[in-house]
Symmetry: C2
Subunit: 237 residues, 2 copies
DNA sequence: GTCTATACCTTGATAGAC
DNA sequence: GTCTATCAAGGTATAGAC
C-alpha cells in the first residue's frame, strides 16, 4: 500500500490526501475482485481502516467513487496514447504503440483497468457521468479505428472487417487484467512485445513482401506508465 | 421467448417445464445485463411473470440458479467441442474448430455464455459447485493447450509463450458476447470464419511455406449449435 | 405449482458529537 | 476529518393457504 504524498490527479493538480488514497485502494481492490454491486460501503471502510461515515467526507456516494476511479484511469490512458502517437504516421508503428500501450496500462494499473472495463454497466445510463465516460472510451477507440482503416487502405494490413477486428484485438489486450500477475511466465515488457507481435500477425501486417514483427517497431515501455492514485502495487507471485 | 416443450437438459433427459424456462430466461437476461449481484430475486420473478416464492419451487436459491445456467452451457460446449475434435490430428484444423466453435457458441448462447464467463466470482469458492465449474472450464482449456503446444512442436505454429497466447485468443473469442448482435456488420458464420482467420494468422500457422487461412480448413457451422434452455432468441437489429 | 404475507438481515446514507 | 448511532429501503428466503 502506497504511503506517498503529493500524488496528483490525472487531469489536474489537486493533491490527494492519504486517507483518500486508502479509500481508493480499498475500492479498486474490492471492485476488481468482487464487482461493484457485490461490494458494500462497509467492506470498503473496513479495508481502508475507517468508518463508513468517513467515506462520505471524501466522496458524495458509492457511485461517485466508482466514476472517479474509472475516469482517472481512462483520462490517463487517453492522454498517454495520444502523446505517443504524435507525429507517427505508419499504421504498423501506430498499431504497435496502441497494443503495447494498452497492455502496459492493463499490467501496471491492472485492477483499476479491470474495473473500468467491466463496471460501466453499474452506472445509471442517463447520468452525465455515464455519458462522459462512454465519450472518453469512444475517443480512445477512435484511435484504433483510424489506424486499422488507414493500414487497410494503404495495403499494410489485411483483414475482413474493421469493427470485429478492432473489438477482437481490444478485448484480447484488455483481457490481460483478468489473468496477468507480476512474476509469471513473462515479465510485462515481454508481454507487451508478445501481444504486439500477435496483433501485427493477426492483421497480417507487412511492408512489401516482409511481415512486420514486434522486433522491428518501437513499443511502449511499461516502466514509463505511472500507477494511478490508489492502484495497489502487486507482489511478484 | 421460446414456448417449445420437451427441451432437454444438456446432461440428461429430464424435461424442463415452461415456467422453469421462463425463470431461466429472466435470470440469463438480467444476469447478463446487470450482473448477478445487481439482480434481485424480485427482478427475476417480475420478468418471469411470477412471484418470488414460486422461484423457490424450481431452484433452491439464487446461487443454484446461477450455477445451473453456467453448468448447462459449459457442459454443452465441452461435449460439442470434444466431439468435433474426434479423430482430427492436424493442429491448424484443431485450432480452427476450437475458435469457430467457441465463437459460434458465444453468438448463439450469447447471454448465458457471458454469464458463464463473468460470474464465476459470485460463487462461494469452497462450495462444491464452484470446484465443479472450474474443473469443467479447465477441461475445456486443456484442449486449447494441447493444440497450441502440438502445433508449436510440429513447427506449424509460431508464438512466444503458450499460456499468454492461449489466454489472448480465448479472451478474444469469448469477448464477442459483449458486442456481437445478430444483424450487424457480419453474420455469425462470417464472424466464425473471420476470427478463425485472425487466430490462424496470430500464431502464424503455415504448412511448408504457405500460411494457412480459414478458407482452407473446416469450421463449425453456428447453425448446428443449439440454444440452451432459457437462452433468449435475439432479434436482428 | 403458485399465491399472500411476512420474517429477518444487510444495504447506502445521514445527523450530530467531538 | 472522523467517530457513534441510527434510519428507511431493499435484499433473500420461508410459512402456510389454496
Amino acid at each position: 500500500m502506497s504511503t506517498a504524498t503529493n500524488l496528483s490527479r490525472a487531469a489536474g493538480d489537486a493533491a490527494v490526501s492519504d486517507t483518500e488514497v486508502r479509500i481508493r485502494t480499498a475500492a479498486i481492490v474490492l471492485f476488481a475482485e468482487r464487482g461493484y454491486a457485490a461490494t458494500g460501503i462497509r467492506d470498503i471502510a473496513g479495508a481502508a481502516g475507517i468508518t463508513t461515515a468517513a467515506i462520505y467526507h471524501h466522496f458524495a456516494n458509492k457511485e461517485e467513487l466508482l466514476v472517479d476511479i474509472i475516469r482517472v484511469g481512462q483520462q490517463a490512458l487517453n492522454e498517454r496514447t495520444a502523446r505517443s502517437l504524435e507525429g507517427v504516421e505508419r499504421p504498423e508503428q501506430r498499431l504497435a504503440l496502441l497494443i503495447s500501450g494498452l497492455v502496459a496500462t492493463h499490467g501496471i494499473n491492472r485492477m483499476s483497468a479491470l474495473v473500468g472495463d467491466t463496471e460501466l454497466r453499474a452506472l445509471t445510463p442517463d447520468a452525465p457521468a455515464y455519458r462522459e465516460l462512454v465519450q472518453l472510451r469512444d475517443d480512445y477507440e477512435a484511435l484504433w479505428s483510424r489506424t486499422l482503416r488507414d493500414g487497410a487502405s494503404e495495403g499494410v494490413f489485411e483483414f475482413a472487417a474493421e469493427r470485429s477486428t478492432r473489438l477482437g484485438l481490444l478485448t484480447m489486450c484488455t483481457g490481460i487484467s483478468r489473468w496477468y500477475r507480476p512474476g509469471g511466465e513473462l515479465d510485462l515488457a515481454s508481454l507487451c512485445a508478445h501481444f504486439t507481435d500477435l496483433g501485427l500477425a493477426a492483421v497480417r501486417a507487412r511492408r512489401g513482401r516482409r511481415p512486420v514483427r514486434a522486433a522491428a517497431v518501437t513499443l511502449v515501455d511499461p516502466a514509463t506508465v505511472p500507477r494511478i492514485p490508489g492502484e495497489p502495487e502487486e507482489e511478484a507471485a
